[in-house]
Symmetry: C2
Subunit: 609 residues, 2 copies
C-alpha cells in the first residue's frame, strides 16, 4: 500500500500514508494543484500525466473532460485517480497554482555590436511584362542587386512559394530577409525583426525574444524542461534516449514546449511567430544532441565523444520549430561530451577570452562545468575546462525533503542562538528544502559545530533525533508545516552533499594544479546559472565547495549561457568568437588523472580549504 509517488518537474516525492487520491497526496507533499471544482472531476484543471505506474480505472468524469489523445498519453485528473503502484507523475505547468522559479535573467556584461548574419532589405519589385519573360526569382534578384548592391544566390524553397503572389498580386513592396547569400523569407515592409535565443538546461529552459536591430531583449520566459519526468539528470536522460523512439519523444517534448513558449511570448508582444527569423540554441552536449535527434548513447560511455563539436546551422523546420519557415537554428559549438555549447555560451557572455588575470567561471548544476581562464602572463591566454559530476543534490534530488525551487521551498537557513531560522520561497509554510537552503543548512550546522568536518551529525542537540536508526536534524517542526510533518536534514543527505561539493572542489583544485596556480592566484570567481544565482556564496565557501577568497572576488551573474546565446544571435563577431572559444579551450578529463581519487577524498571534508 505504501506506494512511492514522485511528482515532477517539482521534484517532490513521498510515500502514500494510506489509500489516497493523487490530488490529496500532492497536497500532503506541498504540491499545489489547481482545483477549481473542489475535486468533483468536472473542471479538468488538475490534469497530471502518469509516466510510469498504475492507477485506478478512468472515471466517467475523466472520459468527459479528457480528450482521447490525453487519455492515450496517460493523462488523468488528480482528483479522480488513485495510485495502485509506485508512480512517476508529470505535473504540467498549467496544473500548478504557482509557477516554479526559473532563472532567465543574467548580467549583460557584454556590449555586443548589433551585426547579425541576417539582413533586411526593403524592395520595390517591378512586375514582369510581355517584353520581359524572366522568372520571378530573376526579377527579384535583380531588384536586390540594383536597389541594395546585394547578390543573393538562392531562395529558401519554402519561401520561394510566397514569391509569385508578391510579384503579381500585392503592392509590389516586400522586405527580403537575407542570410549569408540565401534569401530565407519575404516579410511585409513593416514586419518586426525578431530573433530567438534558447538555453536548454537539463532542468530548465530559458527562451528569449530579441530585437535583431537593437539587440534588446523584448521578452523572456523560463520553463521547466519537460524531459525531467523521463530522467532527472543527464545520465538518466541519456539512458532513456538509448531507444530511438524514446529519443524522438524526448526531442518532441522540448520542441513542443519551445513552440508553446515562443507562441506565448509572441502573443505578449503582439507578434506572429513567423516574424522570428533566426534562433540560437545552446545547451549541454546531451541536450544539444537530443535537440538535433543525434544519438546520445556514446555520450554516456567513455571516452564520452560527441557526434559533433563545431557550430551547426540547421533549418528550424527540420527540427520542428515553428518560426519563420525559412529560418535557421544556429547551434553554438560544443567542447566535449560533458562540456557543451552552454559552457561556450557562458564563456562568450563573460568575455572570457578577453579577461585579464586569472578567472574561474563556474556553472553549477547536476553537472558542473568549470573553466579556468589564465591570462596572468601577457600573451598567454589559456582556457581549460573540466566537468564535475556534482549530481542532483543541489536540485533537491536524493535529499529526503529536497525539492526544486518552487513555492514553500526553504531557500535560506540561518542558525542563531541554538535555533534554526529559515526563509521559504513565496513566504509560504515550508514543504521542503531546495538547493540554496541545503547549502546554507550544511554551512550553518557546520559552523555551529553540529556537523563536524567529516560530516557527522552530533547526537546531543535538541533538534537532532534518531529516526529508524538514522540521525536527522529537524529544520522545521510539525507545527510549522501544513501537513504536520517535520522537515529534516538527514545524515544520508549530508553524505550526498559532501559528494556533490567534493566533485566541484576537486574540479577547481585540479584545474589550478594543471596550470601551477593556487587559490590565491584567482582574481575572480564568476558563478553562472540559476542555482549559482540563489546560493549564499559565504555558505559555499564555508563548507569548502568554493575557494576561500575575499567575498568581493565572487560574482554571481545569473544565466550567462542565455546571455551568450543572445550575443551570438545578433552579432556575427560573437558567433565567430564562440567557435574560437571552443577551439581554444582545452578539456581535461578529471577521472583520467592519477591523483583524482586522492584529491576527491580530501575534498569530501567539510570546512574551508
Amino acid at each position: 500500500m505504501k506506494y512511492y509517488i514522485d511528482f515532477e518537474p517539482i521534484g517532490k516525492r513521498g510515500r502514500l500514508s494510506s489509500e489516497k487520491l493523487i490530488l490529496d497526496h500532492a497536497r500532503e507533499l506541498g504540491v499545489d494543484l489547481v482545483n477549481i471544482c473542489g475535486g468533483a472531476g468536472i473542471c479538468g484543471q488538475c490534469k497530471v500525466q502518469i509516466i510510469s505506474g498504475d492507477a485506478s480505472p478512468l472515471t466517467t468524469n475523466e472520459f468527459g473532460v479528457l480528450s482521447p489523445e490525453e487519455i492515450a498519453g496517460g493523462f488523468r485528473l488528480a482528483c479522480q485517480a488513485l495510485p495502485l503502484s509506485d508512480c512517476l507523475i508529470h505535473v504540467p505547468p498549467e496544473s500548478l497554482t504557482s509557477p516554479q522559479r526559473t532563472q532567465v535573467e543574467g548580467d549583460e556584461i557584454l556590449t555586443y555590436p548589433v551585426d547579425p548574419l541576417i539582413r533586411f532589405y526593403s524592395l520595390k519589385i517591378s512586375s514582369a511584362s510581355v517584353e520581359d519573360f524572366r522568372s520571378d526569382t530573376e526579377q527579384l534578384m535583380e531588384a536586390l542587386h540594383k536597389q541594395h548592391q546585394i547578390k543573393a544566390t538562392s531562395i529558401d524553397i519554402k519561401s520561394l512559394c510566397d514569391l509569385p503572389s508578391l510579384m503579381h498580386d500585392g503592392n509590389r513592396q516586400t522586405m527580403a530577409v537575407v542570410r549569408d547569400n540565401e534569401i530565407i523569407s519575404f516579410h511585409k515592409s513593416d514586419a518586426r525583426k525578431i530573433g530567438m535565443a534558447v538555453d536548454i538546461g537539463t532542468t530548465k529552459i530559458a527562451c528569449y525574444l530579441v530585437d535583431m536591430e537593437t539587440g534588446r531583449t523584448l521578452a523572456a520566459k523560463g520553463i521547466m524542461n519537460p524531459q525531467i519526468a523521463y530522467g532527472e539528470d543527464v545520465i538518466a536522460r541519456i539512458g532513456r534516449a538509448m531507444e530511438h523512439s524514446e529519443a524522438l519523444k524526448l526531442q518532441k517534448l522540448v520542441v513542443d514546449a519551445l513552440n508553446q513558449s515562443v507562441k506565448e511570448l509572441c502573443d505578449q508582444l503582439n507578434l506572429n511567430v513567423a516574424e522570428i527569423i533566426e534562433a540560437v540554441v545552446v545547451g549541454n552536449t546531451a541536450m544539444h544532441h537530443l535537440f538535433l535527434r543525434l544519438p546520445v548513447k556514446q555520450l554516456a560511455m567513455a571516452p564520452y565523444i560527441p557526434a559533433v563539436n563545431t557550430h551547426l546551422d540547421v533549418k528550424a523546420r527540420e527540427i520542428g520549430l515553428h518560426i519563420c519557415k525559412g529560418a535557421y537554428v544556429h547551434l553554438l559549438p560544443n567542447i566535449a561530451g560533458f562540456v557543451g555549447a552552454d559552457h561556450v555560451s557562458m564563456l562568450l557572455a563573460l568575455d572570457a577570452h578577453n579577461k585579464k588575470g586569472v578567472c574561474l567561471a563556474i556553472d553549477i548544476g547536476t553537472n558542473t562545468e568549470i573553466c579556468l581562464i589564465n591570462n596572468k602572463k601577457t600573451n598567454h591566454k589559456k582556457m581549460t575546462s573540466v566537468s564535475c559530476a556534482s549530481g542532483p543534490a543541489f536540485e533537491g534530488g536524493h535529499i529526503k525533503h529536497g525539492m526544486r525551487a518552487s513555492n514553500g521551498a526553504i531557500e535560506h537557513v540561518h542558525y542563531e542562538e541554538g535555533r534554526i531560522k529559515y526563509q521559504t520561497i513565496g513566504q509560504m509554510p515550508p514543504v521542503g528544502i531546495c538547493g540554496s537552503g541545503i547549502l546554507d543548512a550544511l554551512a550553518q550546522l557546520y559552523k555551529a559545530g553540529i556537523i563536524n568536518n567529516s560530516g557527522r551529525l552530533s547526537d546531543d542537540h535538541p533538534s537532532i533525533r534518531n529516526n529508524d536508526g538514522q540521525l536527522e536534524f529537524v529544520l522545521a517542526g510539525k507545527e510549522e508545516t501544513n501537513n504536520h510533518k517535520e522537515i529534516t536534514l538527514t545524515q544520508k543527505d549530508i553524505r550526498a552533499l559532501q559528494l556533490a561539493k567534493a566533485a566541484i572542489a576537486t574540479g577547481i583544485t585540479m584545474l589550478l594544479e594543471s596550470q601551477g596556480l593556487s587559490d590565491n592566484d584567482i582574481d575572480e570567481v564568476v558563478i553562472a546559472g540559476a542555482f549559482g544565482s540563489y546560493i549564499d556564496v559565504a555558505s559555499a565557501v564555508a563548507i569548502g565547495m568554493l575557494p576561500d577568497l575575499p567575498i568581493q572576488r565572487f560574482k554571481q551573474v545569473g544565466n550567462a549561457a542565455g546571455i551568450g546565446a543572445k550575443a551570438a544571435l545578433v552579432s556575427q563577431r560573437h558567433r565567430k568568437e564562440s567557435q574560437d572559444i571552443a577551439d581554444r579551450t582545452e578539456y581535461i578529463e578529471l577521472a583520467a588523472s592519477t591523483d583524482f581519487m586522492e584529491v576527491f577524498t580530501k575534498a569530501t571534508l567539510i570546512g574551508p580549504v
Copy 2:
C-alpha cells in the same frame, strides 16, 4: 439516366446505355478491369476511385474488402457500384488487366563522361581514445582528408545521426558519400552507387535507376501521371491546383507514385531505396512547380511567369521522396512558363548546342515545345524555342472514340482499295483510336480525297454516314468490336485535329521566320517524346503538321527528356551545360506576334505545306 462516365488515366469516356455497374460499363468501353471473383465482390481486384460523381451506397462486400482509408478516399469495387450521376473514375494501374503503354526508352545520342557531383570515399575510421577527445565529426573529417585529400565542410544533419554508431560500434569501415563539400550519407563499403532520373510529363512519368559509376541504366519504369484524373492538360491541372490544399494533394500523388515506382525498381535489382543518393527531375514548368509545391496560378495567366527558372537543389526529404535521407533532388532549369526543364533536358540529350547546321527539335504533347537550333553560320549558335498549345487531341482527348495508347487502341490506319485497314495495340479487337492512329486516319483519308484540304468530309463514300446531323467515317464496323459499336472519326474530330496540327505547324513556321530561314534550310528534324515515337512521320508530313522534307531528315528519338535527365545525373559537365542551354535559349511568345493569327489560319488547311 444516360450518365457520362470518364475512365482515367485510360482516357476512355462514354454514356451509360442503361443502369449498369461500373465494371460492366468499363467492359463496354473496352477498359479491362481485373475481375477474379467474377463480380462477386470478394476478390477486391476491380478497385476504382470515384474522383467526382455519385454512386450507389457501399455494399457489405465492399466494407469487407476495402480499408477505411480507401473508403474515405472514394475507392469502390467496380463490380458493386452503380453510377448515380456523371462520374470521373480513376483506375489504378493494378486494377487493369494490361498496363498502359508508356515510353521510357530513348536513343542515347550523348556519350556522357561519368563525372558525377557525388563522390564515394571508402574510409578506415579510427576510434576516439582517452587521449583524443575530438568529436566523431572531427575524426571523420580528418580521415577523409588524410586518406583521400578531400576537405568536406559539413555533414547532413540526418546522416550525422549514423556517425556515432559507425565510429564506436561497427567494423570501423564506411563509405562517405560526398556531394560538393557536404557529406550526405554513410554507406556500407559494398553498397551500390545508384542515382535516379525522372521525367514527369503531364500524362506520363518515366523513372530510371542509373549506376553512378558507369552511367548505365539499370532499370526503368513508365507510369501514368496519377494527376490525370484531376485535370487532363496542364491548364486544367493548374486550375485544380489554384487551391493550396489541392496543390498539395497533386504533389503527394506524384511523389507517392514515384516512391512506389522506385521501390519496385529497387526490388527488381535487389537494392535498398536508401542506396539512391541523388535524383535529377525534369518536367514542364507546371509539373516542376507542382513537384516543388510552388504556386502555379501565375503560369496560367499572361505573361506566364515561372517562380524560378534556374536549376535547383533541394533535399529529397523536403519533397517527401524516400531515397537516401541526405540525398538531393537536382531540378534542371526552366526557360519559360510553357518551356520547362523537360525541354532543356531534351536539348541536352540531343547535344543541341553542339549541333551543326539547322535543326528542329520537337516534343509533341498536349503542349508541344519546339526549338530551332540555328548553327548554320560558323560561330553563330542560336537556339530559339516556342510553345504551342496543341491540345489533347493526340492523346485521344476531345475525339469521339479517342483514347490513350493502351490495349485495343487503333494505332495505325491504312486506306487501300476503298477499305480501311488498321492495327491495334496488343492485336486486340478495337476499342478506340489513339493519337498515332488518328494522325494516320487523317492523312489516309486526305490522300484518298475523302477529306478535302479544308478538312471537310466528302458525303459520298460508303463508309461515311450521317449521325444526328454530323458526318462521320466508320473506321471499324459493329461486327469488328467487342461491344458491337462502331468506331468512327467525326467531322468534329477532324476540326480538333486541324487545330492541333495547325498549332504545331504555326510554331515551326514562325520559328523559321524569326531566323529568316525556310523549310529547306532544315538539316534535321528531331522528334522526341512518347507520342512522337509512335507516329508515322509520313502521315504528319502529309497533313502539313511537319515540314515537307525528305523522310531521312527526320529522326524519332524516344524519351529524350529522360535521357537528358540521366546525363545530368551522372555528369557535372552536362549539368552545367543544361544551365547554359537554358540561359542561351531565347523564348518567343507566339501569341504576342502580330501575324500569329494569319499564319495559324493558313496552317489549319490540310496537306503538305
